[in-house]
């Protein structure tokens, strides 16, 4: 029994203030809940969040240069990169020590490759120098300036030293600048030459095409979801099986099937030519361009749009439509003003799902996109697998992640996440 006193504090049965014991029991509930989900939480953190953070942090890490060439980085600090003159002998001597140690430990090519991303030619420069430097005796073989320039005349180029100095800090903004078609130079951030700017264009293309795909999924998916929600049970079940059937087929197989359909000598063009709708030498080009990507990706992402819409539509009572019509609305008005607003949460859920999936897609644009229909993810894959520029790939991935989060936040402000329902 709560003891009522003329004091303002309420006490519970054992004499402790009610507020305190309430807080204690709430805390215990929370701890219990946390303990129950902790295995899953730990799993997600260890297997998912930590690796992603570790990968994304490569976008700013640059300790390769300062770890492999510590003396050189130190010595370069006193050199003025904009002076127009080569560094002093002390820098060359420091570099000789570093490259000899690096050659012994076989880490010279990695740093050469890393600097080669900024200036072509540095990879082979480091390789050739290391081969000779392995045999040098640091005490007796100096002075090293002429010796290094003798080995390779790249060492008499100011740009090489400027590149090393610009990219020696342990943390760098260089990768993020590269990700937006700029680059870090001694004078600060500059735009890349025009013939190498491709990433911003790809970002724009990815977002625009994902929007197009989302809209075409909405247009094509809405009637299907309507049918699923409004047909009698048996027919609806059969239709549902048809909608889910593609999930049983591998993604690659579906994409390759589109190749067969959309090719110039493919099924669709053959049929059109037979029906005389298209001349034989003017066949439609529907693949290896944006059309191919949009068509194939709409097909693949359609179930992700249909299912959320269907589950929301199922909860809309049919009596509303009937009521609207009985009050004199035309079919269209009844649909547009009564039914459609209630199905918007489903459209919202489906759109978010499809858009986020579409932005990150890699395989389908690679196979059917040609060169006009590839996404930014293809570039990220190239940098991870071929050029091994993991810093740039991480920077591009981070930008993509941040962009999606920003879009999600905007969507929340405009439509409201609480308005997104997955049914019920």
């Amino acid at each position: 029994m709560v003891s009522n006193s003329t004091d303002k504090i309420l006490l519970s049965a054992d004499g402790v203030p009610l507020k305190k014991s309430l807080n204690r029991s709430l805390r215990q509930q929370k701890i219990r809940a946390l303990l129950l989900i902790s295995p899953l939480l730990i799993f997600i953190i260890v297997a998912f969040i930590m690796p992603i953070i570790s990968m994304l942090s490569r976008s700013v890490e640059n300790d390769l240069v300062s770890q492999t060439l510590p003396e050189t980085v130190q010595a370069l600090q006193s050199w003025d990169a904009l002076s127009g003159q080569l560094p002093e002998e002390a820098v060359y001597a420091a570099f000789a020590i570093d490259i000899k140690n690096a050659a012994k430990a076989k880490v010279h090519t990695k740093v050469g490759l890393r600097l080669n991303y900024e200036k072509s030619g540095i990879a082979s420069l480091f390789k050739k120098t290391a081969r000779k430097a392995k045999k040098w005796d640091i005490e007796t073989d100096g002075p090293f300036k002429e010796k290094l320039i003798d080995v390779h005349d790249g060492w008499s180029s100011i740009e090489v030293w400027q590149t090393i100095k610009t990219h020696s800090p342990a943390y760098t903004s260089g990768y993020f600048l590269n990700a937006v078609d700029m680059r870090k130079t001694v004078q600060g951030a500059e735009f890349q030459p025009d013939d190498k700017t491709i990433l911003i264009k790809l970002f724009k293309r990815t977002f625009v095409m994902s929007l197009v795909i989302t809209f075409s999924c909405i247009l094509l998916g809405y009637p299907v979801a309507w049918l699923l929600a409004n047909l009698p049970m048996r027919q609806a079940n059969f239709l549902m099986i048809l909608v889910l059937l593609p999930f049983w087929t591998s993604l690659l197989v579906r994409t390759s099937a589109w190749k067969v359909m959309l090719q110039q000598q493919g099924v669709i063009n053959d049929v059109l030519v037979q029906l005389s709708l298209v001349a034989d030498d003017a066949r439609l080009i529907m693949i290896n361009n944006e059309t191919g990507t949009i068509v194939a990706m709409t097909h693949i992402l359609l179930p992700f749009m249909i299912l959320p819409m269907y589950s929301v539509m199922q909860t809309i009572p049919p009596s509303y439509l009937r009521a609207a019509k009985s009050l004199g609305a035309t079919n269209w008005t009844a649909f547009w003003r009564v039914y459609f607003p209630q199905s918007v949460p489903g459209i919202g859920a489906g759109s978010i799902l499809v858009f986020i999936l579409a932005i990150g897609y890699y395989i389908t644009p690679e196979i059917v996109g040609g060169t006009k229909g590839v996404f930014i993810s293809n570039r990220i894959a190239y940098h991870i697998l071929k050029s091994l520029n993991w810093g740039l790939a991480a920077a591009l991935g981070t930008i993509l992640l941040v962009a999606v989060l920003v879009l999600y936040w905007t969507y929340d402000k405009i439509v409201g996440i609480d308005n997104v329902k997955l049914g019920g």
Partner: protein, 368 residues
């Protein structure tokens, strides 16, 4: 007390001898990484099956060679190498060797000598481009064309690819600057010996892209070796670039109306590396496999299934007929004398330096 002591000593003696026995043992399972398709099939028939039959080892095949360097780097960082033997081209092998990710091989002790006693280092000769690389085959990237779609005169030169007037229709090229830019310069009039010097300059690179611009609308850009054979078979392109072994498979095994243009072929080496950091048993097994799989007869055997030239000099005379089709394989090798007109050897040093830069330029040009 006595009894317990006896039990303990016997048990520990058994364990120690067991461990020593295991240490000198080779592992009975290995993972071999290769490229998939007809090429992996030829390795399966010529190497894996005889080796498994002889030794009882289970060989797991992984078709990840196209991403080998990235994966080996990642495995090295995670300190967990799951591959035992990896098939890579010469350039990635050199890169892996320089970074310490591949084991150094001494040809004379780890590779089998030729039957007449020539040590392996002489038998392979110049093919040993790196200390970690065990060459296997010479393959080349070259063009095939549809014999029924090119009109009356068959194309015979690589520059016919750039001749859309005489040969109208679509072509297919790899969507990378490697080989593509060299062919463009060769067909723009640059002498073969000057091509790489020209490509180092901005003007040279622009010249190559300008030449490619003349056919850009007629090109389908592909990213894998299996795309062009499919496009040729479908009739989507009249000429296309791919690896010569794939074209052989298309022409001879699948009997498609396709023929090859050997002029201007770019030859490259493909071979094995053993990742560094394997345990003693796995390394012993990998070395044992390599000793078997790269001996003279084995390399000649692989040529029975695919038209890639064996890297050993002593294997060349042993190259016989195709295992299923019975046709003579020698004229289909990239190294056959009649196929060597204007043949290039891949310039590893140039592309190691300029690949990233030129790829950025090339992709930007492609996206225009």
């Amino acid at each position: 007390m006595n009894f317990t002591k006896t039990i303990l000593t016997t048990a520990s003696a058994a364990l120690i001898s067991g461990a020593a026995f295991a240490g000198s043992h080779m592992s009975m399972e290995m993972t071999i990484v290769s490229w998939g398709g007809a090429y992996s099939n030829s390795q399966l028939k010529a190497y894996h099956e005889p080796y498994s039959a002889n030794t009882g080892v289970t060989i797991l095949n992984d078709d990840s060679s196209s991403t080998a360097v990235a994966q080996l780097r990642a495995m090295n960082e995670a300190k967990n190498i799951t591959w035992d033997v990896v098939d890579v081209e010469a350039a990635p092998a050199m890169q892996l060797c320089d970074e310490g990710l591949a084991m150094e091989i001494d040809p004379d002790t780890m590779l089998a000598p030729a039957p007449d006693g020539t040590p392996a280092s002489e038998d392979f000769g110049d093919m040993l481009v790196s200390e970690c690389f065990i060459p296997q085959i010479v393959y080349s990237t070259t063009f095939g064309y549809r014999t029924d779609l090119v009109g009356d005169t068959a194309p015979s030169s690589v520059c016919d690819v750039f001749n859309t007037a005489a040969y109208p229709g679509k072509r297919s090229l790899f969507s990378v600057p490697i080989n593509t830019m060299e062919w463009a310069l060769l067909c723009d009039g640059v002498a073969k010996a000057d091509i790489y010097d020209t490509l180092e300059t901005e003007a040279g690179q622009d010249r190559a892209l300008a030449k490619l611009d003349t056919i850009k609308d007629d090109v389908i850009w592909v990213s894998s070796g299996s795309d062009t054979p499919q496009l040729l078979a479908d009739g989507e392109v009249i000429m296309g670039a791919t690896y010569n072994g794939r074209l052989f498979s298309l022409i001879e095994e699948q009997k498609q109306p396709v023929a090859m243009i050997w002029d201007g072929q770019v030859m490259d080496l493909d071979g094995w590396i053993i990742p560094a950091g394997l345990s003693a048993e796995r390394q012993a097994r990998a070395l044992d496999y390599i000793m078997f799989a790269t001996d003279t007869q084995r390399l000649a055997d692989q040529a029975k299934y695919i038209s890639y030239g064996p890297a050993r000099a002593s294997s060349a005379p042993l190259v016989g007929k195709h295992a299923d089709l019975g046709i003579d394989m020698a004229p289909h090798m990239p190294t056959a004398p009649e196929n060597l007109s204007r043949a290039f050897l891949m310039n590893y040093d140039f592309w190691a330096d300029y690949r990233d830069d030129l790829d950025a330029k090339f992709q930007a040009w492609l996206a225009k």
